[in-house]
């Protein structure tokens, strides 16, 4: 649920800014907006900025197995993460999973959004509900479904073996394949949502014009539709990538202890090894990577496709 709104709100906040007309008369009480937003501002200063800053500071502390968290300031945790092969492997795996999930979501979600748009009225709303509804269902419940489907005696293996496609059960649990399938399922609605939003701006008459001028349907798709939905696919990809890279519940259930990703690594450092400073350093790296990717890619997409967004 989260990142799509992040992305949409980024577009909407500027939208709302231009729409809410500037006051037609001079403000009588110039302090009013500040007073109105003060409670929420104070809340966020105390409950968002302070904890994040404290985490940043914690990541600079060191940790001893007998002494616990030590109040020294150093970059040891970051150096450990950058130089240790164990961490490299986990971060690389996280990156690989996020890339594959993003590609799968684009390949599945973009055509689905297009198909949905071409459906007739009652079906379209109903199917949209079915596609987007899972966003509101708990991630744990959805992942549990995949765990049930995956098990060596689960439906997928039983069916594949009954058909004769495979002789021995495929391992889905505790493998990257399993995590990728389940994460794609969890995140693909965000891609549909993003492409759907960009399709709303597409005028169907343009497609009809291309067809009436003799273009083949595939050419229309490639030359008319695709270029206009590329921004939607790209912003959907940013959302999916960011969420996949920091996903926790799904990799923890499907990947287990054996297949760690960055988020489950941070969890283990915090709650099992109790090395809080190292866990904090992993979290800070994850946060920085997230911000760089979201903000950086958004800038790129918006600059490249400026005319589409206006």
């Amino acid at each position: 649920m989260t990142a799509v709104d992040a992305h949409k709100s980024m577009m909407e906040s500027s939208d709302a800014a231009s729409k809410s007309a500037p006051p037609d008369r001079p403000e009588r009480r110039p302090l009013a907006p500040y007073l109105l937003s003060l409670p929420a501002l104070a809340l966020f200063a105390v409950l968002l900025l302070v904890p994040l800053v404290m985490t940043g500071l914690l990541s600079l502390n060191s940790f001893g197995f007998y002494t616990g968290i030590e109040d020294v300031w150093q970059l040891g945790n970051y150096i450990d993460i950058v130089t240790d092969d164990y961490f490299h492997e986990i971060f690389l795996r996280t990156f690989r999973i996020a890339v594959v999930v993003t590609l799968l979501c684009a390949v599945l979600g973009a055509p689905e959004a297009y198909i949905l748009r071409r459906m007739r009225s009652p079906w379209r709303g109903l199917c949209l509900l079915v596609v987007l509804g899972p966003l509101l269902i708990s991630v744990v419940s959805r992942t549990l479904g995949w765990a049930l489907l995956f098990g060596s005696t689960g439906i997928i293996n039983t069916a594949l073996m009954a058909v004769g496609l495979i002789a021995t059960p495929i391992e889905f649990m505790y493998t990257e394949t399993g995590v990728i399938i389940a994460l794609t399922h969890v995140l693909v609605p965000f891609m549909v949502l993003s492409v759907w939003a960009s399709l709303q701006r597409l005028d169907p008459q343009v497609e009809n014009a291309a067809l009436s001028l003799g273009a083949k349907p595939f050419t229309v798709l490639r030359r008319v539709v695709l270029p206009q939905v590329v921004p939607g696919i790209l912003s959907g990809s940013i959302i999916v990538f960011a969420l996949a890279a920091s996903a926790f519940a799904t990799p923890a259930i499907i990947g287990g202890r054996r297949l760690k990703v960055a988020a489950t690594l941070a969890y283990d450092e915090f709650l099992n090894t109790l090395n809080w400073p190292l866990g904090a350093a992993i979290a800070i790296l994850l946060l920085l990577a997230n911000i760089v990717i979201i903000v950086g890619c958004n800038r790129l997409v918006e600059r490249r496709y400026k005319q589409v967004f206006e």
Binding site: A32, P33, L41, L108, P111, I115, L129, L136, S141, Y267
Partner: protein, 266 residues
């Protein structure tokens, strides 16, 4: 002329099957009469739903989740309404920055927030308390409430407010009798969306919950890590049924498409 061809329809069907399969499997397994996981199941029974009631930990986590969702969405809405009114109807310095700050919890991975809150609450002595859970949930669900209330207050016709004011109503009366009723659909859907997000949250909560105060998704998650049995399927199925019910309410109240896709442009 703009019809989906057979290839597109097959793709569509497979896509829906992919999306629905795990959700349906959970619901089917939950109704098994066996004492273990079996698919296809032989007999149907409600024994595992009854078992939820007999498991005091799940029952308590469920009650705590409901209470947490209700309290934190109410607080989030109470903070969002004035902030949304300020952003929607005033031009002021720092307006964009303030809006970005209010929406920023959406950009921070929940795992990072979980770690940050664990550190913060341990330092100030709120570790493992219900108050800590409420405060952290208010922060992550406020953007959802704010967005819907903001949309409602931006589109509102202000002439009625001016009429009330010119007839001598005080600003508090105007707010209570005119503004609030007008933005109420946005406020109510903001509350429900915030509640759903609080109720479903697991990644951040797993860090700050304690064995005594925990939420249903966290309890479920920790249980699944040890073993998967029909009991967790029954709990998950109940969650799914409740979410579908909440979706139907939201659809009536606000329109699910408008809620998820944004204001209709057609």
């Amino acid at each position: 002329m703009n019809r989906n061809g057979p290839v597109a329809l097959v793709f569509h069907m497979l896509f829906l099957a992919f999306l629905l399969a795990p959700i349906l499997v959970v619901c089917v397994v939950a109704f098994t009469s066996q004492g273990y996981l079996s698919l296809p199941t032989e007999g149907l029974s409600l024994r595992w739903f009854k078992a939820i009631g007999d498991n005091p930990e799940f029952a308590r986590a469920f009650r705590d989740s409901l209470l947490l969702g209700a309290v934190s969405s109410t607080i989030a809405v109470a903070f969002s309404v004035p902030a949304a009114l300020a952003i929607a109807r005033h031009q002021f310095r720092g307006r964009e920055a303030i809006t970005a700050l209010f929406l920023s919890p959406l950009m921070v991975p929940h795992i990072v927030l979980g770690i940050a809150f664990l550190r913060f609450f341990t330092q100030i002595g709120l570790g493992g308390t219900f108050a800590g859970l409420v405060l952290s949930h208010v922060v992550i669900i406020l953007p959802f409430a704010l967005r819907l209330i903001l949309a409602a207050s931006t589109g509102m016709d202000r002439s009625i407010e001016n009429a009330a004011a010119s007839l001598g109503a005080t600003s508090w009366t105007t707010f209570r009798r005119v503004t609030l009723p007008l933005i109420l659909p946005g406020v109510a859907s903001g509350w429900v969306l915030a509640f759903i997000n609080s109720f479903d949250e697991v990644t951040m909560t797993v860090f700050i919950a304690s064995p005594e105060t925990t939420t249903l998704p966290v309890r479920l998650f920790l249980y699944i890590q040890d073993n998967i049995d029909p009991l967790v399927a029954a709990v998950s199925a109940s969650l799914i049924f409740m979410t579908v019910a909440a979706m139907l309410v939201l659809d009536r109240l606000y329109g699910l498409e408008r809620l998820l896709v944004g204001r209709g442009q057609e």
